[in-house]
């Protein structure tokens, strides 16, 4: 399918025809998948549901060339070239044949994108000095889909700058035809009818500080050598994700025990971390839309204070048990069943949004203390890698839990980005001090 020599004009024609489809209509529409439906109901300036992926190049970004690269590459991602429309009962995607523009970067990232505005894309490409950043509405895609698009944009930017490569590796190129499986609602495809009942978790320890004004989002980035982190995690016989989750839980436990007696008593609840799992690793899907679920490893401080070894054991065994296709198949079925119910389908969208936003604050989200999402190790073809200095992943704002973290490793570094909506970096302080205590050198950067 790949035709590297096809001129762009031909490519546009192919993809525009693909978008329009056989019915010759001016535009096409498709429904939101299960996770996107949930995100669309709660998305607001207070709950932006926007995450960010960025690549820092080895020289200052040329905006004109970046815009050209974006115009070229967007046709390869027709499922991203959309605008969210509102009907009486649901939101849906409609093809948006405009071209997305480049935005200047802001001090505070990951703020609300008004995706239902006319011609608004559900992502924004931002440039600042040497960095290309893309902020995605979670309604559109998850970290894996976002990373695929970022890699394709960076490669096309290099191509526009005249850097030619023999081998672009797994990077998607503008002259390829999008595959139908990239559009798929993988939740529906892989869910299986099973009746296991729904477990309701008690509320977890929630950081009891007041959020800052809406729009303020503090980022604290910790850079550390991946080799050293790997060595430390191997000494416990666990993965890097399990190791970092354990340190996160240990830090939250220390934070809890640093409270005065009355506050400690009030907040003595389970500490759980929400760890998203990329389901493409468990199911053979190539979808570019959301396809992840989460697990909640944690400890219960009501049973007593845990030492690090105990936390590691809890996290390791929990994750080994929970990260299993069978467990996720039933969760997918339960989640997709909700949106299939006739009663909910016939409920007006305004009512769904009203109850959805309140549900976000009072159900589900209070079941965990923080979030840690790991995008894994980023590999770029050699030709591209020498122009890309750093890759970053900034988590979405979490209004209930207040602090979240996202990690990604690139070249010889592990980047952990904490995002918080409270003033004091109290969680980050405990976390990075714990990392340093374990003999891992850390460099801190902030916005």
């Amino acid at each position: 399918m790949v035709n590297n020599d096809a001129p762009y004009s031909e490519t546009f024609k192919v993809h525009d025809r693909f978008l329009v489809g056989v019915s010759d209509r001016d535009n096409e529409w498709h429904r939101l998948e299960n996770a996107a439906t949930g995100f669309s109901l709660i998305s607001s300036p207070k709950i932006p549901q926007v995450f960010r992926l960025s690549a820092t190049m080895n020289e200052t970004i040329n905006i004109t060339q970046l815009q050209k690269a974006l115009n070229n590459i967007i046709v390869r991602f027709p499922y991203f070239r959309v605008n969210m429309k509102t009907s009486i009962f649901w939101h849906f995607w409609e093809t948006n044949l405009d071209y997305p523009k480049i935005y200047p970067d802001s001090k505070y990232p990951n703020n609300f994108i008004p995706i239902t505005n006319k011609s608004e894309f559900p992502f924004r490409v931002k440039a600042y000095k040497k960095r290309i950043a893309i902020e995605y509405s979670h309604c559109l895609t998850d970290g894996t889909g976002g990373l695929t698009f970022l890699k394709a944009l960076v490669a096309e930017y290099l191509n526009v700058r005249g850097i030619k490569s023999e081998d672009w590796g797994d990077i998607l190129r503008p002259n390829q035809i999008p595959k139908l499986e990239e559009y798929e609602d993988a939740y529906r495809r892989y869910s299986q009818k099973v009746r296991t009942g729904r477990e309701f978790l008690s509320n977890a320890f929630i950081i009891p500080f007041k959020r800052e004004k809406v729009g303020i989002y503090h980022i604290t980035k910790g850079l550390m050598p991946i080799k050293k982190v790997l060595e430390e995690s191997k000494s416990f016989g666990i993965s890097i994700t399990e190791y970092i989750v354990s340190i996160y839980i240990e830090s939250l436990q220390e934070l809890l025990y640093s409270f005065p007696a009355n506050l400690l008593k009030k907040n003595l609840k389970p500490i759980r971390i929400m760890v998203p799992v990329n389901l493409r690793n468990l199911f053979p899907s190539k979808t570019m839309r959301n396809f992840s679920l989460y697990i909640l490893p944690g400890i219960d401080p009501r049973l007593g204070r845990y030492n690090f070894d105990e936390i590691v054991r809890q996290v390791h065994h929990f994750m080994k048990k929970e990260v299993h296709p069978k467990a996720f198949t039933s969760t997918m079925y339960k989640n997709t069943t909700i949106e299939r119910r006739m009663f909910l389908r016939l409920t007006p969208l305004a009512l769904k949004k009203f109850f959805g936003q309140r549900g976000y604050y009072y159900l589900g989200t209070p079941a965990y203390t923080g979030i840690l999402t790991n995008l894994g190790r980023i590999k770029l073809p050699e030709e591209v890698e020498k122009y890309v200095e750093d890759v970053e992943f900034v988590p979405a704002q979490v209004p209930v839990n207040k602090v979240g973290a996202a990690m990604v490793s690139y070249k010889d570094k592990l980047n952990i980005n904490f995002g918080r909506i409270i003033k004091d970096p109290i969680v980050e302080r405990f976390f990075f001090r714990n990392i340093a205590k374990k003999g891992i050198p850390v460099k801190i950067e902030t916005n």
């Binding site: 300036p45 970067d105 609300f112 980035k221 910790g222 409270i422 109290i426 302080r429 340093a436 902030t446």
Partner: protein, 250 residues
């Protein structure tokens, strides 16, 4: 390279205070500031709002326009059916629903157009009700009879009690359970008035019966609420008693 000795972390060379603990960073002599720069811009770009901003006044006007146009539809339907049934251009039974539709339109229009003017709203709503009941009484037998004895006193009483409660609730400095007390006293006054007006109309003598059963408990509860608000809260810190704490500021 700069280093925070409290947190044991490295920071950018241009950083003065540790981002984690805010302690002053000790600078070493061989700082190389050339390769380190701020990772984010200092400017804050305000994100666009979800929808273009429309003023509240404009929104209210659009809502009023929609209500007005919507009211015309049943108005024309009733008018049409009345004329079709009667086979003439005279309005017979249709005047009752037509007057009702006009009243509904007035009751919705007044608060939409006069928001934040509570006195004018009360006056507007009262006049609308007065006009409606006068017309209904007149349609009945071509004369105004029960209106003066029943309708006008009840409307007057409702307008008076509502105005007093609303004005008191707005003007009072410390708002709390005292508002609930004002509402209870208002309900008591309404019951007393209704009892007087209705029984006087039926028996043609001034008597009070059932309203006492409502007035006694409501006055006692209202009085207790006022005591709670104006006396007890000065002596006891109620927030402390009820364990209401402000959230900690980080």
């Amino acid at each position: 390279m700069s280093y925070c000795i409290n947190c044991n972390v490295e920071v950018d060379s241009f950083i003065e205070k540790c981002p984690l603990c805010q302690s002053i960073i000790q600078k070493s002599d061989n700082i190389d500031q050339i390769f380190e720069e701020k990772k984010y811009p200092t400017e804050i770009i305000e994100e666009e709002k979800d929808e273009p901003k429309i003023s509240d006044k404009r929104k209210r006007f659009v809502a009023w326009e929609a209500v007005s146009v919507s009211a015309v539809v049943p108005l024309l339907i009733v008018l049409g059916i009345n004329m079709f049934v009667e086979r003439s251009f005279t309005i017979t039974w249709g005047k009752y629903p037509l007057t009702g539709i006009v009243l509904a339109w007035l009751l919705i229009s007044v608060p939409l157009l006069l928001l934040k003017r509570p006195i004018l709203i009360v006056v507007g709503e009262t006049l609308s009700l007065i006009a409606f009941l006068v017309l209904i009484d007149f349609y009945d037998n071509g004369a105004i009879d029960w209106y003066y004895q029943i309708a006008l006193p009840i409307i007057g009483l409702t307008a008076l009690v509502t105005s007093i409660v609303v004005i008191l609730s707005i003007k009072v400095k410390n708002k709390g359970v005292n508002i609930a007390a004002f509402v209870l006293f208002g309900i008591s006054a309404m019951c007393l008035g209704l009892d007087l007006i209705i029984l006087s109309y039926i028996h043609e003598t001034i008597t009070i019966k059932w309203s006492l059963y409502v007035i006694i408990p409501l006055t006692i509860i209202g009085g207790f609420l006022l005591y709670l608000h104006y006396r007890l809260t000065r002596i006891v810190d109620m927030k402390r008693v009820l364990e209401i704490k402000k959230k900690l500021k980080a």
